[in-house]
Symmetry: C2
Subunit: 180 residues, 2 copies
């Protein structure tokens, strides 16, 4: 018998079809709480979250990003962003480029958010933005995002139209012992 | 009442002190199963996992990486890597640089692994490797990692010496409504 958390991880699937029922503010808050519980390099917590509920803005996002066609009335958009200004001081100290840790930290936060959504019966899809400048440039303009903040992704969350069977992605060939 | 998955996400902490009790092969397998359940861009599943149990190799890692001082007899090392060769074809098609999606995908897999460890009573620490060439160069040499595979991190997993209180990282200031 697997515990509930492991089962939740193994059964999470991407959901792209949402009912018109909106996601409650309480649920969004819980998802963001889960996201902010992620670990981060030097505990810098470089993440920011733009919660998009405005219907006009959602229509603009849908028109601007071809891979966001599933945006409908019911779903809420969450743009997970990283604050790259946090790394300036650190890079100065150790003379190395720590900047890209924001991608890892914000990705861990995004995964927490997706898992939490699945755990409370919501569905979500992670649509990639960074490192494609053509995509994050559009988000920057639409959402008034300053230069030192980089949008990593656009996550859409909503009530799933139907449940989906999880993919079995287990692959023994991805495991290497001691040496690659 | 929060459900078990949400509680697991909110209470996970970084563990750096491990007992000498080794992690069982069954547990490592479960952690890797959780990791491979992560979503990935275009479902490419770019991850590879090097499981390090050899004591000699662990001592070499400990000597090579200053931030891996907590390596002891009980812990198992897991290097999460990305296969960047998968992106060559795709970048050719859409003329954009999709390569960095491997960092996001492998980070989501890493977070799944950490959450699963916490869920079964193990402790873990994510030590950053990529994008610091000084670090991934050493791992490449020690673990015979080919050029098209990039080590993202070294995760140490073991039985925790003591339980730790989770940090409260909730920060309302990280939430923005509709515009940044």
């Amino acid at each position: 018998m697997l515990n509930e958390t492991i089962t939740n991880i193994l059964t999470r699937v991407t959901i792209r079809n949402f009912t018109e029922e909106p996601v409650s503010d309480e649920d969004i808050r819980l998802l963001l709480q889960a996201a902010m519980a992620a670990p981060s390099s030097m505990n810098l917590q470089p993440w920011h979250f733009i919660v998009i509920k405005d219907e006009g803005l959602k229509r603009q996002l849908k028109a601007a990003l071809p891979y966001a066609k599933m945006i409908n009335k019911g779903c809420t958009g969450i743009v997970v962003c990283g604050d790259i200004s946090l790394y300036e001081r650190i890079n100065h100290i150790d003379k190395e480029d720590n900047t890209l840790y924001w991608v890892q930290d914000c990705s861990a936060a995004s995964e927490n958010l997706l898992l939490a959504a699945h755990a409370i019966g919501l569905g979500a899809v992670w649509t990639g933005v960074y490192p494609l400048e053509s995509r994050f440039g559009k988000l920057r303009a639409l959402l008034s995002i300053p230069d030192y903040i980089v949008p990593l992704n656009l996550i859409l969350v909503g009530h799933p139209v139907a449940s989906s069977l999880p993919k079995n992605k287990w692959n023994e060939g991805k495991i290497h012992n001691d040496k690659f």
